[in-house]
């Protein structure tokens, strides 16, 4: 232990995508930089594109061995896909603390003692995205560009829908059946030619079919890119990207805003805890700082207003955020039904974290598949 203190504290970051993907992975990478900035002397070693498609032949435990040999004391892995690998590696390296982002091993009790989970409550961000979309749309048709189907993606799509239906009914005072909300899953977090549906084509299909706002649930920016092209061809359309604060860049005409993750505060806390030796295993689901959802030092989730958002909508959004903050507004309030008509929340019931986390279907009123075929 003494020896370790002499060396600078290093932590490892395993990113599923490229560190500069302007999406999920870059948000994590930036958080790593944030920690380095806040804690001088702490060093990050990151390894990006940690997925079998990009790193053929290499398994996660092998990469962890590699990081271990460089003396890291904490490893943060940022993908759902790494669940088994992280667990296996954690068992092999009890001397290292592991944080698996988006995982649930701690809840399910499968996690060894040196493995914790964190996640951000993106549900709020998605609600805001849906809210803005519903207030902006002129055709009443909102498209949701979904990645693959799992609990996380279902609950995020559902949150967007609930935000949209709130805006539609409460602000625009229109009947819910006039709002069309359709989810198209491409099959993965980003396009893999010949394997996933091409997100460019899916976005095109939305816009050509009269959907004028597309909310992106995938890691890449096809939705804003296609929207910009449609704008240039004289069409009035918008898009809402995902994950990363800077995702609106270059899409001034169409970007309504972006719900994003801000991992910095959580990372900082974990690094400090491990460094000081007082880390405790836990499953954390961090929400926004309701005082200022865009506060870099405190808020885990934010919504950045895009250049294309109108002032009225921005104002309404501010009100919505306040409502969420005070608890006046809770869109997860019954009665809410699953797509097949079975109840998700009974009348008057509010959802528990666990109920939201393990959402098993899309909601009634949303179009699109609830489970993969």
């Amino acid at each position: 232990a003494k020896k370790a203190e002499e060396k600078p504290f290093t932590f490892g970051l395993l990113l599923v995508g490229p560190y500069n993907d302007r999406g999920w992975s870059q948000a994590h990478y930036d958080a790593g930089l944030y920690v380095e900035r806040k804690l001088p002397g702490v060093k990050m070693i990151y390894l990006d594109k940690v997925n079998p498609a990009d790193r053929p032949g290499l398994t996660l435990p092998q990469l962890v061995d590699d990081l271990a040999s460089k003396g890291v004391r904490l490893i943060i892995a940022n993908s759902d896909d790494m669940k088994d690998g992280v667990r296996e590696a954690a068992k092999q390296h009890p001397e290292i603390t592991f944080i698996h982002v988006s995982g649930d091993d701690v809840i399910t009790g499968r996690a060894p003692a040196n493995l914790g989970n964190i996640m951000g409550r993106m549900e709020y961000g998605k609600m805001m995205a849906g809210f803005v979309a519903a207030l902006t749309t002129k055709t009443g048709k909102i498209g949701y560009l979904g990645p693959l189907i799992n609990e996380e993606t279902r609950r995020l799509a559902a949150s967007a829908y609930l935000g949209a239906s709130y805006a539609w009914q409460k602000i625009r005072k229109k009947p819910l059946k006039e709002l069309k909300f359709k989810v198209s899953w491409i099959g993965f977090w980003f396009n893999i030619p010949g394997v996933t549906a091409d997100p460019t084509q899916v976005a095109n299909r939305f816009y050509d079919g009269g959907f004028d706002v597309v909310i992106s649930g995938i890691d890449t920016t096809e939705a804003v890119v296609v929207a910009t092209q449609k704008r240039k061809a004289g069409r009035e359309v918008w898009a809402i990207p995902y994950d990363y604060k800077g995702a609106c860049e270059g899409a001034d005409e169409v970007c309504l805003g972006v719900p994003y993750f801000n991992w910095g505060p959580a990372y900082l806390a974990k690094v400090k805890a491990v460094k000081d030796g007082n880390w405790k295993q836990g499953w954390e689901w961090n929400g926004p700082d309701w005082n200022d959802i865009n506060n870099e030092d405190t808020s885990a989730v934010g919504f950045f207003n895009g250049p294309a958002i109108s002032n009225e909508v921005a104002e309404e959004l501010a009100g919505f955020v306040t409502g969420l903050a005070t608890g006046e507004i809770n869109v997860f309030q019954g009665p809410i039904f699953y797509q097949d008509g079975s109840p998700f929340l009974l009348a008057g019931e509010t959802a528990t974290d666990e109920k939201i986390w393990y959402m098993s279907q899309l909601l009634q009123g949303m179009e699109g598949a609830s489970s993969p075929k």
Binding site: P56, L58, Q62, D80, G85, N150, V195, K373
Partner: protein, 348 residues
């Protein structure tokens, strides 16, 4: 030509090719703004630096050798079996399918069945490409390539559909196999002796088949001249199908070993592009079996070493593929220039 002179010539060729590829690679590195010498050091240390890394390199060497041996069989009758990727995948699918009923584990003997199932899967896929070629005149490049995508689609459908893990469905693949169905590794190393032995047997077997059996000879004859082979009664179509079956079986074995020996589950990227890399290997070896093991080792080294590039230099690890490509291109260039030079000299 005297053996010594011939050896000298091939060494000269090798040196020229290596030099050329070094120049090209350095150029590319400079374009990318990377320090060439450090890059090379990191690349090699990354694959050789320690026993663990060497073991990792060997674990990549195994599927490469299997696939390259497989390709030697396909190249003998002149087949461009690009479909080998799909054949690896089918091997993995069949092996996984075979092991699914044993979720609670079982005796290691079951693994024999899984490996055989993998070989059958690979053969099946190769056979389809072969039939398309012999009975439909669809060139094996296109037949094979199309089947590669279909195989990948099949894997994804299985992973996200019927074989999905309870709760999650993701690129991380199917539920891991029961640990009793994992091939035992050398202690503390990611390398297992069974796979290693099988790879050695495979290359040995292929050398024997091609050098010493009439079957191997007739494959070569079909490749040299299908018309004459027909006249000789060698049944070219049947030979083509046989060679595809054999090639597919070895590729399928490689796929099955990836499942039971490396990943312990079915993944979308289970083939790791080893099939394509093996195509480069065989071309670099000019289809000479004895060169396969060393070239595979070098390529595996690059693959494993390149993992260090993003870690230490923020470079993309596709550099390994770039170097492999440059190397093969250089060899072709040197051979071509040499041929040209000789022709020119003859004319004088």
């Amino acid at each position: 030509m005297l053996p010594a002179a011939r050896l000298g010539l091939s060494l000269g060729r090798l040196a020229a090719s290596l030099f050329l590829s070094l120049v090209f690679t350095t150029l590319i590195l400079l374009i990318a703004g990377a320090p060439p010498i450090d890059t090379f050091i990191i690349l090699f240390a990354g694959g050789l630096g320690s026993v663990a890394k060497l073991a990792q390199t060997m674990s990549v060497w195994i599927p490469l050798v299997l696939c390259s041996s497989a390709l030697l069989l396909a190249f003998a009758p002149g087949l461009w079996n690009i479909g080998i990727e799909g054949q690896i995948i089918l091997g993995a699918i069949f092996a996984t399918g075979f092991l699914r009923p044993f979720a609670e584990g079982g005796s290691p003997l079951i693994l024999v069945g899984a490996l055989l199932a993998g070989m059958i899967g690979g053969s099946l896929w190769a056979y389809i490409a072969g039939v398309l070629k012999t009975w439909g005149r669809v060139h094996e490049i296109f037949g094979g390539l199309g089947l590669n995508f279909v195989a990948l689609g099949l894997t994804l459908w299985l992973i996200f559909g019927p074989w999905r893990r309870p709760g999650v469905a993701s690129m991380s693949g199917t539920e891991p196999l029961h640990p009793s169905l994992w091939l035992q590794e050398f202690k503390g190393l990611s390398l297992n002796p069974v796979s290693l032995a099988l790879a050695l047997v495979a290359i040995g077997l292929v050398i024997y088949l091609l050098r010493s059996t009439r079957w191997g000879l007739s494959l070569k004859a079909v490749g040299q001249n299908p018309d004459a082979a027909l006249l000789f009664g060698l049944k070219p179509n049947k030979r083509i199908l046989e060679s595809m079956l054999a090639c597919g079986a070895l590729a399928g074995l490689a796929g099955a070993l990836q499942v039971v020996g490396v990943y312990h589950r079915l993944l979308p990227a289970i083939s790791s592009n080893y099939g394509y890399t093996a195509l480069l290997v065989t071309m670099l070896a000019s289809f000479r079996p004895q060169l396969i093991p060393p070239i595979c080792f070098f390529f595996a080294l690059l693959n494993v070493g390149s993992i260090q590039l993003p870690l230490q230099l923020k470079l993309d690890s596709s550099l390994s593929g770039v170097i492999q490509g440059v190397l093969v291109l250089s060899v072709f260039l040197v051979h071509g220039l040499e041929g040209r030079f000789r022709l020119g000299r003859k004319k004088e």
